[in-house]
């Protein structure tokens, strides 16, 4: 027999860690249909029966405020699992139990898992899980997922309970009896008089949602709600009379009263709280004067290590390995086998080079992911959003949008995906459009090349100015777009600040591996294909014959055609435009294309560059690259997250338009002075 179990809990309660504990390495990451939220499924390890564990997104309640919550709710109704494992952060038990009271209304067998018991102990608290089980009607177990304590017992309990095959259960109601009566008689009327209304919903849950005038039901089932209008009105009036408050306030209040009573009965403070270290850390890190400098220090360290140290060391080594060892060997080997020249070129200059562009980026991006994962799991990222909220509010976003932009300093692909944490749809879209303005690591080779060729003494200053420009563009674009296309002001900001925790190495490793894998698969495939396409455009002329003269290739012809467009920006030569176009595949290609196209010029690369650019036009070129739409992998990610072609088209048009405008202004105004 096969069983399906849903893992449900608040964000930050250690759900991912528990999921990993329960499934070992047997997991599959996909997507919930229609949305870009990850769907994780795995097989519970060490069981006799086949038990599939579905990880639902972390949610605070089953009320539909975000896509996460709707996805979870729809899953529980449309594909009811055989059991729900409700993971609860026991160090924060009351608020976690709020979701529990809602889950109890789904009439699905449940097990409560009290996680983070090690922190509860440090707080000097003891919890009587048997008493909790009495109050709530289902078993509670204590575990520490991070320390892997209690896991085996949990698995045994889960398997024992799920094979009992309880079809539907009725848990104690959290509402006082008078209110309970109102809800039950409402439920009766629906079941007797309106059997066609939401028949697949669990009765209690359906009644409460209807009485609450739940937003999702209002949207999807407006007609049914109309028919029940009188009954709903009566029920709401009754609840208002009994409670003396508004229906939504009353229901939340009753839930928390039930919870507080149960928690007070089953919790005992037996010792002193030993969380001084976390408190001290918070005082320092969020100190009014030290917070921002500390943040910049962290960022500097992260970028220095990942891009300068690791990136510098490895990407040269890998480029070397590929360019000077692998490609010649492969080329030699293939040629000796009599393989046609064009095929050899396709394999070496096209495919291997393309793969090389991605692979050389992997070490730095892995290190970057490690740091970001640590920042997130330690709780620091939430503090950063907290700190930056006021600044971001001034241009139409909220502090949560800061995190994708920080990630974007490494690579836009994970940055755009990180926008999922921005709850509000308008803000999320705006974040996705603005994040690519933050310079990604792949553009660094171009800056370094240009900087050393034209700005030798002031190279770092020039690069620093680029970051300032991107910040400025993000800021002004945010203001502009918030007043026009993405009209609206910053939405409801309510952010939990999770306790500081030391992330487990195992968790971090798993998370980083998953992200690197996703980057390799998604970005890698796209960049690879784009490189091959680019190879084709560079090596074939308009008659589709292979050409050894780069000036006659399709790419060159196209470059010559559009070059005039860039004349007002100071770089209306075809080599510059061709290199730009090659950057669509991967930004690192701008440099490689330029060096290939200039390889025949006498005097060396730097001399050749000087024949194409002046310092001013070089700066203008860099600005264009900085701001224009990112590489094809990021474009694909942008399209996925923005969903519609309209939004995507706008995003690309805005980005390229801004790049053009800024480069134009800088060049033309600069010319007046230089």
């Amino acid at each position: 027999m096969e069983y399906k179990i849903a893992l449900v809990g608040n964000p930050n309660c250690g759900k991912t860690t528990l999921f990993n504990c329960l499934t070992g390495s047997n997991l599959y990451v996909g997507n919930w249909p229609g949305v870009t939220i990850e769907k994780k499924e795995g097989l519970v390890k060490n069981t006799r029966e086949k038990i599939i564990l579905v990880d639902l997104p972390g949610i605070y309640s089953l009320a539909p405020y975000s896509v996460d919550e709707i996805v979870s709710r729809d899953f529980l109704i449309d594909e009811p699992p055989d059991m729900i494992i409700n993971i609860i952060d026991a160090s924060n038990i009351e608020r976690n139990l709020y979701l529990t009271t809602q889950l109890m209304e789904m009439s699905i067998p449940m097990i409560g898992v009290l996680n983070m018991m090690d922190i509860v102990e440090r707080k000097g608290v003891r919890i009587d899980n048997e008493l909790l089980a009495e109050k709530f009607g289902f078993p509670f177990v204590e575990i520490s997922a991070q320390k892997e304590q209690g896991i085996d017992e949990l698995i045994a309990l889960v398997e024992g309970e799920v094979v009992k095959g309880a079809k539907s259960v009725h848990y104690p109601t959290v509402f006082p009896s008078r209110v309970g009566t109102v809800i039950h008689s409402f439920n009766h009327s629906v079941e007797n008089g309106y059997q066609d209304i939401l028949p697949n919903y669990p009765g209690l849950f359906r009644s409460i949602k209807l009485i609450e005038k739940d937003e999702v039901l209002q949207k999807r089932n407006a007609e049914e709600m109309e028919r029940l209008d009188a009954e709903i009105h009566t029920a709401r009036k009754a609840i208002r009379t009994i409670s003396g408050q508004d229906v939504d306030g009353a229901i939340a209040d009753y839930r928390y009263r039930f919870i507080t009573k149960a928690v007070q009965a089953s919790t005992k403070v037996i010792g002193k709280s030993h969380l001084e270290f976390e408190d001290k850390l918070d005082r320092i890190v969020m100190n009014r004067f030290a917070a921002l400098p500390i943040f910049f220090l962290f960022m500097f360290i992260i970028y220095f290590i990942s891009i300068t140290l690791v990136g510098g060391a490895t990407s040269n080594a890998i480029d070397n390995l590929i360019g000077n060892i692998i490609i010649p060997q492969v080329a030699g080997g293939l040629k000796s086998l009599g393989v046609a020249d064009w095929l050899v070129s396709l394999i070496t200059d096209g495919a291997i080079t393309g793969v090389g562009a991605v692979v050389s980026f992997v070490p730095q991006i892995t290190v970057l992911f490690i740091f970001i994962s640590i920042l997130e799991d330690s709780g620091y990222m939430a503090r950063v959003a907290f700190m930056m909220d006021k600044v971001f509010r001034s241009f139409g976003l909220s502090g949560k949008s800061f995190i994708p932009m920080v990630v974007g300093l490494g690579c836009s692909v994970p940055a755009i995906m990180a926008s999922r944490t921005v709850g509000d749809e308008r803000e999320r879209k705006l974040t996705i459009i603005l994040t690519p303005f933050i310079s990604c690591g792949a553009k660094m080779p171009l800056y370094v090349m240009m900087a050393s060729a034209f700005f030798a003494a002031n190279a770092s200053l020039m690069v620093f100015s680029l970051y300032l420009v991107s910040l400025f563009v993000v800021f002004t674009s945010g203001i502009l777009l918030s007043k026009t296309v993405f009209k609206g002001s910053s939405s409801e900001y309510l952010l939990e600040l999770p306790p500081y925790r030391i992330p487990s190495a195992k968790n971090t490793a798993t998370q980083v591996w998953q992200r690197v894998k996703e980057f390799l698969v998604r970005a890698g495939t796209i960049i690879f294909i784009a490189s091959v396409v680019m190879w084709f455009l560079q090596n074939f002329d308009l008659h589709l014959y292979m050409t050894t003269n780069p000036d006659t290739s399709i790419l060159a012809t196209f470059g010559q055609f559009i070059a005039p467009v860039f004349a007002p920006l100071g770089f209306g030569n075809w080599i510059a435009s061709v290199s730009l176009i090659s950057g669509i595949a991967a930004k690192e290609m701008i440099v490689s294309t330029m060096s290939v196209l200039l390889s025949s010029v006498r005097g060396g690369f730097t001399v050749a560059l000087s024949s194409l650019f002046t310092p001013l036009s070089a700066y203008s070129y860099i600005l264009f690259v900085l701001l224009a739409s990112p590489c094809v992998a990021s474009l694909a990610t942008m399209k996925r997250e923005l969903k519609t072609w309209k939004s995507f088209g706008f995003a690309v048009a805005y980005q390229i338009g801004t790049a053009y405008l800024v480069a134009l202004l800088v060049y033309q105004v600069g010319r007046l002075f230089i």
Binding site: E94, R95, Y98, D248, Y256, D389, S491, E496, L497, P498
Partner: protein
Amino acid sequence: MMAKTLKDLKPGERGVISSIDLKGLMRRKLLDMGVIPGVEVYVDKVAPFGDPIEIHLRGYALSLRKSDAAKIIIVE
């Protein structure tokens, strides 16, 4: 005299929620997060730039903007 609100509490001060004068999404979110009349909250700090604020309630830390805190009435 204007009622005392959560915004009026300084870091280090406590208060009991009396009512929430917000509507719509923000109100529902606050209710879900346990910010309901009768609960005691503790104001821990203000963000480095002056906004938002961090409050502690029910054993956890929550941050919200001063403009919203100004609509949460505290029992006098």
